[in-house]
Amino acid sequence: MTVFPSVEWFEALSARVAADKEEFKRLGYFDANVGVKIDANGSGTKGYVLEFACYGVRSVRGVADPVAESDFTIEGSLDAWTDMVRNIQDHGEPDLDHTLNRLTMAGVPLKVVAKDQLEIDIFYRFNQSLQAYFNEAAALPTEFSRS
C-alpha cells in the first residue's frame, strides 16, 4: 500500500498505466509535463511533476515549484485531491462530480494554472488521457496522508 500523496504513489499509478498500455494507445499519445500541487492542510505544499511521454509516464519527480517545471499544473487542497482519489476508488471511476474537468472548471476545488493560455490548452488537448491516468487509482491500494 502506498501513501497518497507521494512520489511512490504516482509511480505506482504510472506502473499501472504501463500495464494498461493498449488503453492508453487507443486514446493517443500524450506528451506533457503535468504538475500536481497539493496544499497539505496548513503543513506546507507538496509538488510533483509527471512527465508523460507517448503512451506512458517517463518519470515522476517531487519538486518544490511544479508550476515552474511543468506545462500546466493542477493545484488544490489535500482534502480536494483526497476526495477525488477516494471517489475514483469508491466507484471504480469518477462519478459525475469528480472528473478533472468538473473539479477544475470553476477554479475550485481544483485549479489549472500555467504560464500562459496555450499551456492551459494542453490540459484540454490531453484531458481524456489524464483522466484515464487518475482513473487507474481505482484499483491502487492507497493510504491517505492527512498532511
Partner: protein
C-alpha cells in the same frame, strides 16, 4: 463533319456578365467546349461557378493535348515510347536523373510512437520557404519540371497560413481520433426528466448546427493554400474530420434519448455565415479558430461539467480535446501572421477593426436564451433550479472572455483594454 450548334444568346450574355471580354471570344471558347462534348447545361453551371476565360482555355488545351491531332488515343511522344517498349528499350530517366536528392534515411525518434512528420522534417526539406516560387502540388523537396502548371493558389506566403505548432498538432490529431459510434458508451444513456432532456437536446442541436462550419471553412480555403505548406493543409483536413464527428455525435445525442432536434436561430446562422464568408483566411481563422471555437470549447467544458450521465461526459471530454487543438492552431497562426506580416502595424490595425465588431458575438452568444437557459436548467437540475443554474452561466461568461483575451495576448494581439465585452455577466 457536323457543325457545332449555335451558342444560345443567353449563354453568351451570361459569359459577358461574368466578366468574359466579349461575346465573340466567349462564343469561340464555348464552341470548342461543345465540340469536345460538353453540354450547354454543364457550361452554364461552370459559368455560374466562376469559370474564367483563362481557366476554360487551360482546361480545353489540356483536353486537346491529351489526344494526338489525328484523333488517336496516343500522342506522338506516347507512341514513340510504346515503340521503344516493344523493342525492350526503357527510358530510365527517372533512375538516372541527378536532380532528386536521394540517400535520405529519416529515423524514428521514438519507435514506440512510429515515424512522425517531425522525424521526416528533421531528415529533409523540413522547413518551408517563406515564399515558394512555384504554385505546384509537387512535394516540397522533390525535383520537378520547370513548366509545371500554376495551380492558382492564392496563399503562397508562409505567414498567411503557418503556425509553429501545426506539425505537432497534425500528428496529435491523427493519434487522438475517435469514433462517435464505437467510443461513446451509448448504453449508459438513461431517460431524463423532460426539461433536462430538452435542455440537453437544445444544446446538442446548437452544436450539431455550429460544428460543421469548422469543416466547411477549412475546405473552402484548403485548395487556395500552396501545397508547399502541406502540414497546414493536412492539419485542416483533420479539423474537417473532427468537426464532422462533432456534428455526428451531437446529432446522435439529440436523437438517442427520447428528445429530438430542437430550434435553430437566425442569429446563430448569421454568425456562421460571417465565418464561412470571411473575405480572407486570417480573418476567417480568427473568427473561427480563436473566437468561435474558443467559445465552443468553453461550452464543451460546461457540457462535461453539467453532464447527467457517463455518455454525455465522454462526448464532451472527447470534443474538448479536438476543439483545443483547433484553438491552439488558430492562436499560434495569429501570432505567426502578425509577427511575419510585411506591414505588421497595418495588419494589427486591421485585425483590431475586425475584433471590435466580432467580439460582440460573445455577449450575443451569452444573452441568447436558447443557449444560456438550457445550460442553467442543466446546472439547476431542472427548470425549478434555473436561478441557481445561472451561476454556471456567469462562470462561463467570465471564463470565455478571459481565455479569449489570454489567447489574443499570447498571439501578440492585446485586446484586454480594447474589448467592449463586460468582465462580468450583466445579469
Amino acid at each position: 463533319m457536323t457543325q457545332a450548334p449555335a451558342v444560345p444568346k443567353e449563354l453568351l450574355a451570361k459569359a459577358v456578365n461574368k466578366g468574359w471580354t466579349s461575346e465573340r471570344a466567349a462564343s469561340e471558347t464555348i464552341e470548342v467546349a461543345i465540340a469536345k462534348g460538353f453540354s450547354l447545361d454543364q457550361i452554364s453551371v461552370a459559368l455560374d461557378n466562376g469559370l474564367t476565360p483563362e481557366r476554360a482555355a487551360d482546361f480545353l488545351q489540356m483536353a486537346l493535348s491529351l489526344r494526338s491531332p489525328d484523333g488517336n488515343v496516343f500522342n506522338e511522344e506516347q507512341s514513340a515510347y510504346i515503340d521503344n517498349l516493344k523493342k525492350g528499350r526503357f527510358d530510365l530517366e527517372w533512375l538516372n536523373d541527378p536532380r532528386p536528392v536521394v540517400g535520405i534515411r529519416a529515423t524514428m525518434k521514438d519507435p514506440e510512437r512510429g515515424l512522425t512528420l517531425q522525424d521526416i522534417n528533421r531528415a529533409y526539406a523540413g522547413v518551408p520557404e517563406d515564399a515558394p516560387k512555384y504554385r505546384t502540388m509537387a512535394p516540397r523537396g522533390s525535383a520537378f519540371d520547370e513548366d509545371v502548371p500554376d495551380m492558382g493558389y492564392v496563399y503562397n506566403q508562409k505567414y498567411q497560413v503557418w503556425s509553429d505548432n501545426v506539425v505537432a498538432l497534425y500528428e496529435e490529431a491523427c493519434a487522438r481520433q475517435w469514433s462517435a459510434t464505437r467510443d461513446i458508451p451509448w448504453d449508459a444513456l438513461k431517460p431524463l426528466p423532460p426539461d433536462l432532456e430538452r435542455a440537453q437536446c437544445q444544446i446538442a442541436t446548437l452544436l450539431t448546427e455550429v460544428e460543421m462550419v469548422a469543416s466547411d471553412f477549412p475546405a473552402k480555403w484548403l485548395w487556395q493554400m500552396n501545397q508547399h505548406f502541406h502540414e497546414v493543409k493536412m492539419f485542416l483536413c483533420t479539423q474537417a474530420m473532427d468537426e464532422a464527428r462533432h456534428l455526428e455525435v451531437f446529432r446522435k445525442r439529440a436523437l438517442a434519448n427520447g428528445g429530438g432536434l430542437m430550434r435553430c436561430l437566425t442569429g446563430t446562422e448569421t454568425f456562421l455565415k460571417t465565418i464561412l464568408h470571411a473575405p480572407t483566411y486570417i480573418q476567417g481563422s480568427f473568427l473561427m479558430h480563436v473566437l468561435g471555437e474558443g467559445l465552443v470549447l468553453d461550452i464543451f467544458r460546461g457540457g462535461e461539467f453539467l453532464a447527467k450521465n457517463k455518455t454525455e461526459k465522454e462526448i464532451y471530454r472527447l470534443c474538448i480535446q479536438d476543439e483545443a487543438r483547433h484553438v491552439s492552431y488558430g492562436t499560434m497562426h495569429l501570432k505567426y501572421f502578425l509577427e511575419h506580416h510585411p506591414d505588421r502595424e497595418q495588419a494589427i490595425a486591421e485585425m483590431h477593426a475586425l475584433a471590435d465588431v466580432a467580439e460582440l458575438g460573445i455577449p450575443g452568444f451569452l444573452t441568447n436564451p436558447f443557449i444560456i437557459e438550457p445550460l442553467a436548467v442543466l446546472m439547476g437540475d431542472g427548470v425549478k433550479g434555473i436561478d441557481k443554474g445561472m451561476e454556471a452561466v456567469r462562470l462561463v461568461w467570465v471564463r470565455m472572455r478571459e481565455e479569449y483575451l489570454n489567447r489574443c495576448e499570447l498571439a501578440g494581439f492585446d485586446r484586454r483594454h480594447l474589448t467592449q465585452v463586460p468582465e462580468q455577466a450583466p445579469f
